[in-house]
Amino acid sequence: MALHLSPRHAAAAALSALALTFGAGAGAETVLRTVPSSDLKILDPIWTTANITRNHGLMIYDTLFAMDEKGAIKPQMVDKYSASADNKVWTFTLRPGLKFHDGAPVTSQDVIASLARWAKRDTLGQKMYEAMDSIAAEGPNGFRMSFKQPFGVVLDALGKPNPLVPFIMPKRVADTPADRQIEEMIGSGPFTLAKEDFRPGDRIVYRKNTAYVPRKEPASGLAGGKVVHVDRVEWVLLRDPQTQANALLNGEVDMLETVPSSGYAGMRTNEKIELVDVMPAGPYTVVYNHKVPPFDNPKALRAAMLAINQEALLRAQATFRDFYKPCISIYLCGSTYASDKTGFYTGKPQFEEARKLLKESGYDGKPVVILLPGDSPALNKLPAVYGQLLKQVGFNVDVQTTDWATLVTRRTKKDLPENGGWNAFITFWGGVDASSPIGYSPLTGNGDQGYFGWPTVPELETLKSKFIATTDLAQRKEIATRIQQLVLDNGVLAPLGEVRAPTAVRRGVITGLLPSPGVLYWNVQKKQSPQ
């Protein structure tokens, strides 16, 4: 039977169809709302070592190489590469069709400018450029690095996942002096920053980069095909842990990048929520000031390390047994260079030996100042417990509570504690930071030029240089183990064990999260709420 429509009805039907079409299009936009682990304040990823800025960088920029979930460095923007037998000459070709968000092609000139700016700020980048003879373009898509001496960690440098990451920017942006922040947020990554929606301290919005061409391989860690399944990602900043939990339970946000241990009890039994281990655990470490008494004395230093009781410290800070794991290696347990060759260090208290050493050190009983960051829920219990352990050995301890901003300033002071200096502080590292001797900031032995605490262990620097020169994994492992022994013997730092912070998602709504050093938003799919 033929269907007859009056012109009026036909017009109405057509309008309805149009409305449905456009309405469906608008309504079908998939928005993923997530609570980041901290506020994004600085947008230039070469300007700060803050992880949140690195994570922002991963959204909008791409990298030449990237680390997969097994820790292997894989090509990302690079199509092909090769190294000479002596690791002195490295050549690279970019993938065809790479484009920045403004439509301009990515060229080798962009890469060279980006790497030059990055190397002015990044420690490993500086080492790479010090060893480098030249870096030159070979056509629009190729470039060559020549080194004065063998440099085996080129791929580790170009694919490093911990800040500062060598993100590739357009040359005009990368030509910004390294001591000035960039103004233009243009990359070639899988998302674009919606600057008009950027509300500092409240909300950061990213849109899918529809022009992005992912690699063909499946996504793995930071490597592989960065396929985006959502149209828009909103980072919603919620400071209060209870507010975060409420928002997730109410479906106002879809995920929390990290669940604090205080919110864990309520979430792990809630059927609406699923806890996922995305990011690797990370270690806590004590950093000692080698410049002032008593830790300028190796015997007092060792006494303080022998007082450490990892289990007690971790239990106090992380509360739940499945949140923490004692680990005596300075490298992340289970990572490539982790080793159980730790000499005297067991992570368990050896009070008798410690008391004996402290007596031999001639410690004068002056207060040992440990800094406690009261505003940092992830760190604020450890110093008090460590203070008690040191008291049991015979140290006179003064745990001074301050805020994190004050702590990071105070740790730069080399004065005596009574003049505003310090003796020890405890901090946390991302697992990826602590996975290799070259990316782990506190592993320095060059005194005043090194990390806070300023230990002088020249052999440590020599070993790091040897590590950098080789590509041989067995050789690297051996060097890394020797570095660990040096670090512990000289009290460069003391590992306190590892904690993890799971990611919380709405069960059945969010899938596809990839194990990675930070929460990634490609490969993630959002379904409608089952409620």
Binding site: K41, T48, D179, G201, L238, N246, A405, T406
Partner: protein, 313 residues
């Protein structure tokens, strides 16, 4: 009147200057270095020193102050160390949520507190009076975070009527704007209404003992008319003062409420700025708050002219 406004206007400048000097000096005396916070945890001492130099923090305090004061006199509050945005723009972005909370809370407060206060005064010593005053003690005593979480638990988590957090801009529609404001504003209104109801009761009670009330009653004026047109009108000055201070307090920072409900207002901005030692932002916000207090006080003083014709400036 013009003379009064001129005098008050001129008095504002030294107040703001004194506030500026004190805040500037206090910030420099407080431990904590914005450069270290910017550089991040893995940064070296050299990185921090370089950032200090770029921010001009290595210069003498006098030079830093002179430069900042020069900027302020040109109407420029400087740039945030962290967000790289002008302080004026940042304050502007956060002003809307704060003003929205303040406005809705004050309206709610007045609507609740004035009738209750007048009612309590009119039944002074009676059961209703005791009930209202008891409730107001409770309202004033319950900490804001307790009231806030209780309301979220009931209206968001259990009943699902309202969002538990966030702010929707008025440009995105009055409906969503109001939906997001209901819970935080009720949370605050409970406390402010309790305070203002008590002040209203006390003022109206006092007015009810005056001769003109007795005269009015003797003339047979209806009780409600006498309460509203005579007693309340004469008791309005202290009530207006408390309302004015409440408005200034609401604009000056309702940090706990903003944190519980994740509202990106000026209170939250202030806390963030202080924790990260964002000097230009803290200085700018403090100046702004000082100005708010000065203006609100002026408006309260001017309101006395309307409320009590006997007052002259």
């Amino acid at each position: 009147m013009l003379n009064f406004l001129l005098r008050r206007g001129l008095a504002t400048a030294p107040v703001l200057l004194i506030v500026a000097v004190i805040v500037f000096l206090l910030l420099r005396m407080t431990p904590g270095d914005p450069a270290a916070a910017i550089a991040g945890d893995a940064a070296s001492a050299q990185d921090i020193a370089r950032i200090r130099m770029q921010l001009g923090l290595d210069e003498s305090i006098l030079v830093q102050f002179a430069r900042w004061l020069g900027q302020v006199l040109r109407g420029d509050l400087g740039h945030s160390f962290f967000y790289r945005m002008s302080v004026t723009d940042l304050i502007g972005q956060r002003l809307e949520p704060t003003l929205s909370i303040a406005a809705v809370t004050v309206v709610l407060t007045v609507l609740i507190a004035l009738p209750l206060g007048v009612l309590a005064a009119s039944r002074r010593g009676g059961r209703l009076d005791r009930f209202i005053m008891g409730a107001s003690v409770l309202g004033f005593s319950v900490p804001v975070f307790v009231a806030g979480y209780a309301m979220i638990w009931l209206f968001s988590m259990q009943l699902g009527w309202l969002p538990s957090q966030g702010y929707s801009r008025i440009a995105d529609g009055v409906g969503p704007w109001l939906r997001n404001l209901v819970l935080p504003c009720i949370t605050l209104a409970v406390m402010y209404a309790a305070l203002i109801a008590r002040v209203t009761r006390a003022s109206v009670s006092e007015a009810l003992t005056e001769d003109y009330v007795r005269t009015a009653r003797a003339k047979g004026i209806a009780e409600w008319s006498m309460l509203l047109r005579h007693a309340l009108a004469n008791a309005a000055v202290p009530i207006a003062t408390v309302i004015g201070l409440s408005v200034a307090g609401l604009i000056g920072g309702v940090v706990v409420t903003e944190t519980i409900y994740a509202i990106p207002g000026l209170g939250q901005l202030t806390v963030d700025a202080v924790l990260s030692r964002d000097y230009p932002l803290i200085q700018g916000i403090t100046l702004f708050f000082s100005l708010v207090y000065v203006v609100v006080n002026l408006l309260v003083d001017l309101s006395y002219l309307l409320l009590d014709p006997r007052i002259r400036y």
